[in-house]
């Protein structure tokens, strides 16, 4: 894979980021009332102060200028101040982001580990009992909304069986191995909720990609080489079936983030998803905007990773 290819993908990502920022800004600009109406309405604040605040934040400028101001502030990491948490928004987000990424990452790994073999087995034996069972379970899996799965798991593992803690505790008192053990125990359910949901759609993607690939001529060629069915499947079928799967997974990322928000909220995982909900309930606009933008950046970033993976998996792409 060539370096130009990666650079080209990076360049393509910039307009999408800008586009997303425009959409976000439009939503904000179109919203009725402005964030300073409360200040203006507050009798304790003299009108001159309110006016100077408005001027400072450029609220009376034309829309495009306000957009540019806002964009340059975002680009400089000047994301404002959280009313609710009383710290800078960027600090707050940086505190919370790793947890979200770890949960999502672990869930992705779980999804892949479960879905890849199941999808491949189902795709290579279409319409067998195994395929039908796997397919039905996959349908159930992605028809179960994450919030409901989360509650079901809590009912089963926390309330009924009392095996796992119901909610996530960010300040575990233990250290060393017990800490790790606690950490794993409290991460199991959030990761499972997210991972199984993603895994369910992944099974369908993998199955259908495998189904598409097994009937291609080069798989017959591979079989005619006498290299054994196992090798035919792993080296020739799965390897190429992964190419479309990568794209589909990337397309799924927005849904995964939605699931992450819900999951964090249910289990009180201190990531940016639960931060977003808390900010909404507390009318903490700068945090809401920033978290939404971070989610948008994450989607673009994952698309970028998918593009790079795609180019790496498919030699035809990167040579173009």
């Amino acid at each position: 894979m060539s370096r130009q290819y990666i650079i080209r993908r990076l360049l393509v990502a910039i307009p999408s980021l800008l586009g997303i920022s425009v959409v976000l800004f439009c939503v904000l600009a179109l919203a009725p009332g402005d964030p300073f109406s409360e200040i203006a309405a507050n009798p304790a604040i003299p009108p001159e102060v309110a006016a100077s605040l408005r001027a400072k934040f450029g609220l009376d400028d034309p829309v495009w200028l306000r957009y540019l101001h806002w964009l340059s502030a975002m680009a400089h990491g000047d994301w404002g101040f959280s009313f609710a948490s009383r710290i800078n928004v960027d600090t707050l987000i940086l505190q919370r982001l790793p947890t979200t990424l770890i949960v999502i990452g672990a869930a992705q790994i779980l999804a892949i580990v479960v879905a890849l073999p199941v999808g491949v087995l189902a795709g290579t034996r279409p319409y067998s009992i195994f395929d039908q069972v796997a397919n039905t379970l996959a349908f159930i899996g992605f028809s179960l909304p994450t919030f409901f799965t989360g509650l079901l798991l809590i009912m089963l593992f926390s309330i009924k069986l009392d095996w796992l803690p119901m909610v996530y505790n960010a300040e575990l008192s233990s250290t060393g191995w017990p800490w790790l053990w606690e950490q794993i125990r409290q991460s199991i359910m959030p990761v499972m909720v997210l991972g199984l949901f993603q895994g369910a759609s992944l099974v369908r993607y993998v199955r259908s990609a495998v189904l598409d690939v097994v009937r291609l001529d080069y798989v017959t060629t591979a079989r005619s080489k006498g290299i054994g069915e196992r090798r035919v499947i792993t080296r020739h079928v799965v390897r190429t079936a992964l190419i479309p799967v990568v794209t589909l997974v990337a397309l799924q990322m927005p849904i995964v983030f939605s699931g992450a928000i819900v999951t964090e909220q249910i289990f009180r995982v201190p990531g940016i998803g639960s931060l977003l909900i808390a900010a909404m309930l507390a009318n903490d606009t700068p945090v809401i905007m920033a978290v939404t933008f971070v989610f948008a950046c994450l989607v673009v970033m994952f698309n970028l990773i998918a593009d790079v993976l795609y180019g790496w998996l498919d030699p035809r792409i990167s040579y173009r």
Binding site: V27, L152, M155, P254, S258, V262, T292, A296
Partner: protein
């Protein structure tokens, strides 16, 4: 003897009856495209079963309140958090309200949101796709870029953001129920038109080349008429499939919003809202969460299965 005369040389000339009848293979009975689709749909057993179940659910929420005339907001602390009984087949909530009545009533809204949001998505998608497909060039490229952009928007954060910013203004204008309903429908629909747009555009591009459009053009049919008369009917199958899946996605989106406490208010018991209210008493009244979550799950699962059946029916080669 009839058989001894030489049989036909060309296909047009009728062959001697005895020979032709015996040799020409029995042709499969011809079906119209609609009948053919129905034949294939019927073979998808889960889709058939799902149609029946979903039909019953729809009937229940439409007609149920006529037969089950318990008020949805009759507070009765004497029987709060009761499990299922004859008086309350699905039990009661923390205010002693009848859960069955609430779910029947709320189901209307949950399903209506799903359906209306799908309609919004379909209308926007067909319009954008048709414009893109007919115009080509810069307009086409821009619209498709926009579709890609929307695909990489983080849907839930944006949904949350919009409902956070606009809910007060809209409820002021249109009342609580109407305002939130319209907002949710428009936003969910407005974030899901991309798939339909792509399908319609692809269909237009492929059909544009075919002769019958040329013929129509020669007869002076306008572009608009071409789209309506020739192209849309051809794109209908895939659009219906995408639309069906959209209904399920919209139901999940609305439930998610309500589940996070940021959708419908407590006096409008959509399924997601009921589940939100139920989640804090899961230990003592699991039936509350199970029935409301189960309702969402059943609706989404059956719609997804129906979508799969429709895909088999309209688009047999596609697996996903």
């Amino acid at each position: 003897m009839a058989g001894s005369t030489p049989a036909s040389l060309t296909a047009e000339r009728p062959a001697p009856a005895g020979v032709a009848a015996a040799v020409v293979p029995r042709k499969k009975a011809r079906f119209s495209p609609g009948q053919e689709a129905w034949r294939r749909f019927r073979r998808h057993k889960l889709a058939m079963a799902s149609s029946v179940i979903l039909g019953l659910v729809v009937l229940a929420v439409l007609l149920g309140p006529l037969f089950w005339q318990v008020p949805i907001n009759e507070i009765d602390f004497a029987s709060k958090l009761d499990g299922p009984s004859w008086a309350h087949p699905l039990g009661t909530d923390d205010l002693g309200q009848d859960i069955l009545a609430r779910l029947l009533y709320g189901g209307r809204i949950s399903l209506a949101v799903g359906f209306c949001a799908m309609m919004v998505a379909a209308v926007v998608g067909v319009l954008v796709g048709a414009i893109a497909g007919m115009s080509r060039g810069g307009v086409d490229a821009t619209l498709m870029w926009l579709a890609d952009l929307f695909l990489s928007l983080p849907q839930l954060p944006l949904l949350l953001l919009i409902s956070y910013l606009f809910r007060d203004a809209l409820t002021k204008i249109l009342g609580t129920q109407g305002g939130i309903f319209i907002m949710i429908v428009v936003v969910i629909g407005g974030l899901r038109w991309m798939q339909v747009a792509r399908l319609v555009r692809a269909q237009i591009l492929s059909i544009r080349e075919k002769e019958f459009i040329e013929a129509a053009r020669a007869l002076g049919a306008s572009s608009f008429r071409q789209v309506v008369r020739h192209i849309l009917p051809n794109a209908l199958g895939p659009v219906i499939v995408a639309g069906t899946i959209d209904v399920a996605a919209a139901i999940i989106a609305e439930s998610t919003l309500s589940f996070l406490g940021l959708g419908f208010p407590p006096d409008i018991p959509t399924w997601g809202r009921v589940l939100f209210d139920a989640k804090d008493t899961m230990d003592i009244a699991p039936h509350w969460a199970l029935f409301s979550g189960g309702a969402i799950f059943i609706a989404v699962l059956t719609i997804n299965f129906i979508g799969d059946g429709l895909r088999d029916a309209f688009d047999p080669r596609r697996v996903l």
